[in-house]
Amino acid sequence: MLNGYRAENFFDEMVDAHDQVRPHYRRFQQLFSEIKPEDFDRYRQSVDLAFLRQGITFNVYGDAQGTEKIFPFDLVPRIIAHKEWERIEAGLVQRITALNLFLHDIYHEQKIVKDGVVPPFYVLSGKHFRREFSGFNVPKDIYIHICGTDLIRGSDGGWMVLEDNGRCPSGVSYVLENRRAMKRTFPGMFEEVGVRPVEHYAQELLKALQHIAPAGVADPTIVLLTPGAYNSAYFEHTYLARQMGIEIVEGRDLVVRDARVFMRTTKGLQPVHVIYRRIDDDFLDPTVFRRDSMLGVPGIVRAYRAGNVSLANSIGTGIADDKVMYAFVPKMIKYYLDQEPIIPNVPTYLANEESDKKYLLENLDPLVVKAANESGGYGMLIGPKSSKEEIEKFRGAIEADPRNYIAQPMISLSRHPTHVGNGQFEGRHIDLRPYIIYGEKITIVPGGLTRVALRKGSIVVNSSQGGGSKDTWVLYGDE
């Protein structure tokens, strides 16, 4: 298996430009090549079946039959050497530290704006900037407790940050379940190759949630707030709640009295102190944000303001997810930490800047255009792969609302050997989403979710658009 695999003019994770297996893949490749194709096929089927049986699925929106699909899982793991991971880790810690300082700043003194580093217009016009929270002190001064930062590697193998997800990043349950599936399938390999564990994620998350409990609460009650069973990430919500041993609640399970949050139990109302919410700001409290939200809890924002309940992530972090704000993160790192970014951004053009706009509109063909506040692969134009009409449609949208569009050169994402059927392996483009937990200290579980674009040539890795995932192995050593 995997013999004769070639890089084909792409940066490949496993083999170098001369098709030689890279040192950190060698031991794995030896073990993997001993697997017989018929055994591999059997493994694959049993993993898929196990995922389906366990209900490790996501809901497909707009499907009347309520179809649940498994997130396709590829059995060839993505491997990262120890040294490389150390650098990624340092880069991520640097980034989240700067983002947190930025959020504190714009909700307080706004020094970065006054010093002319970030134009005030971009902050004030941010769709997710919550001016109601200006001057509000969040517990322990932590804004983003859980961050999923998407990383990619370009054609030279250099790492870049593609985007930050500082609201309700999802996908971590796949990290944990993928690992479980791999351990069941290749039990011998882990020790042999030397793979660092990921199983402590839930524990670390729980510790971070306990850390932000309101003052004076010794034994806080922590809950996970879900939009409900019809949300596409519902499996993950129940999974994490179970792993942490906390209750999973829906909005209707909570009630606010005297600016305190309670849950409705068979024994009456019981106080709640920390809420890991998987609901966006907009839907959190119909008395404050969207009035039509039936998912939220009326009064919860008042309880939050009174300091009686803590939320993770804090309200208002969405401004840091704004793709326009993303362009300024390297400057934030410089401004707050006086450091150079360890992991650079992808070069980004802002449609609202006159000079960028001109270049952008004249060069839509080779660029990737993104709406500033969309995710999941929606609201995106991949110039080289789009028709004239699609490009013109985006041109109109950009001209009508330049504040909400950015453009980036199309990056040829690194590729990774991936099973394509019948025991054949080909290169497919991948990215990486590590999960950063910010509590008493910053913790990153080694690795993260490697997503893979299963369609040949595709660079869109989102599950809603034909993406799959891989287990990510961070090694103890470098080979």
């Binding site: 209900g55 209707r252 009064g299």
Partner: protein, 360 residues
């Protein structure tokens, strides 16, 4: 325990039990037909209509089918999604409830229930049904019993488990009473028949088989089948795990474990009703039942079981469902009061917490 979670656990086990009992009912009636020769359409309808009536879904049935043929009834009770109590719907509902409380149940339980769900939704289910209905029902029953076993052996026996038990035994008591009611038209309105003919004997033994009670019946009463004895066994027997008395005993025990209230007392309506019904079943006799008429008695019994379910909802789940608009209003009011207090400069004093919410 969250009220919503308790509610889900209760309904999860009710629906699993429902699926199993419908499988039992239809299976036995299909097999029964093998014992009769040459039945015309009229006779077939006479056979199948009571089966639909037993489930209480007669009106729904006739909205979908003109007459009670074997195909129509079995389709209605097994696969039809329009029937909210079909096996298919029951399994989907059980699984949906389980999905909402996945963090509260074990992986083993979820996987078995999910397996059953994936099976019934698959083409394999249809294929098996076409080949051999009895094997199909065997599979449904086996899976349900497997789930009951997994529940017992892997779920922590805490409050949630008690709600699960309540749901299971309430449903089972109801279904046993309905299965027993299937042949009531062959009985006099009051009193019991002196003797029954060969066909009727087969029909009554089918009822026993539906409740897995045939062998146990013979060992206690001998080979003679009599409606009175069948009713006594399925209603009043202390030890038969599908008898109504057994179910109500278990139900009553689970209710008391939830509240911690001892026998002979009650703190809510559900406990009062369950305790009263249990006493009737413990001290009642089958002669009294037949004096009133079996069908009348069973009708009444089903109403009593329903009111236990309603009372349970009132006592433990209902406070979950205050209307949303009402909540928004309460919050706005609280906020205004807070602001008013600030305006007149009085210190914020904590107020007494209001009691349970009013409901719509």
């Amino acid at each position: 325990m969250l009220s919503r979670v308790a509610n889900c656990l209760y309904w999860m086990s009710r629906y699993i039990e429902r699926a199993e009992n419908i499988a039992r009912l239809v299976d036995t009636n299909l097999q029964l037909l093998l014992d009769f020769r040459k039945l015309d359409e009229q006779r077939l309808a006479e056979h199948w209509l009571p089966v639909v009536q037993a489930t209480g879904d007669e009106d729904e049935f006739f909205k979908l089918h003109p007459i009670a043929t074997a195909e129509a009834v079995t389709e209605f009770m097994v696969f039809q999604m329009e029937n909210s109590n079909s096996i298919m719907q029951s399994i989907c509902q059980a699984r949906e409830n389980a999905r909402m409380v996945r963090d509260q149940i074990t992986g083993e339980l979820w996987e078995e229930l999910n397996r059953l769900y994936l099976f019934i939704r698959s083409q394999d289910a249809r294929r098996l049904w076409d080949q051999s209905p009895s094997e199909f029902f065997e599979k449904i029953k086996a899976s349900s019993l497997h789930i009951v076993g997994i529940t017992f052996a892997t779920l922590i026996h805490n409050e949630g488990w008690q709600f699960n038990q309540v749901g299971k035994f309430l449903e089972r008591a109801d279904k046993t009473s309905r299965i027993l009611d299937v042949r009531h038209q062959t009985l006099p309105e009051r009193g019991s028949p002196k003797s029954i003919n060969q066909t009727e004997a087969l029909e009554w033994s089918a009822i026993l088989r539906s409740c897995s009670a045939w062998d146990a019946y013979k060992s206690i009463y001998g080979a003679e089948i009599h409606p009175k004895l069948v009713a006594e066994f399925l209603l009043l027997n202390e030890d038969l795990p599908r008898s109504v008395r057994f179910c109500v005993t278990e139900l009553n025990t689970a209710l008391r474990r939830i509240s911690g209230v001892q026998e002979g007392r009650f703190v809510n309506e559900a406990e009062k009703l369950a305790g009263r019904l249990l006493a009737e079943l413990q001290f009642g006799t089958v002669d009294e039942i037949f004096d009133r008429g079996l069908h009348n008695y069973l009708d009444e019994l089903q109403l009593q079981l329903n009111s236990i379910g309603d009372a349970l909802f009132e006592s433990y789940f209902f406070l979950s469902f205050a209307t949303f608009d009402e909540e928004v209003f309460v919050q706005q009011e609280e906020q205004q009061q807070q602001q008013a207090r600030r305006l007149i400069g009085s210190p914020d004093r904590p107020r007494a917490r209001p009691g349970p919410l009013k409901t719509a």
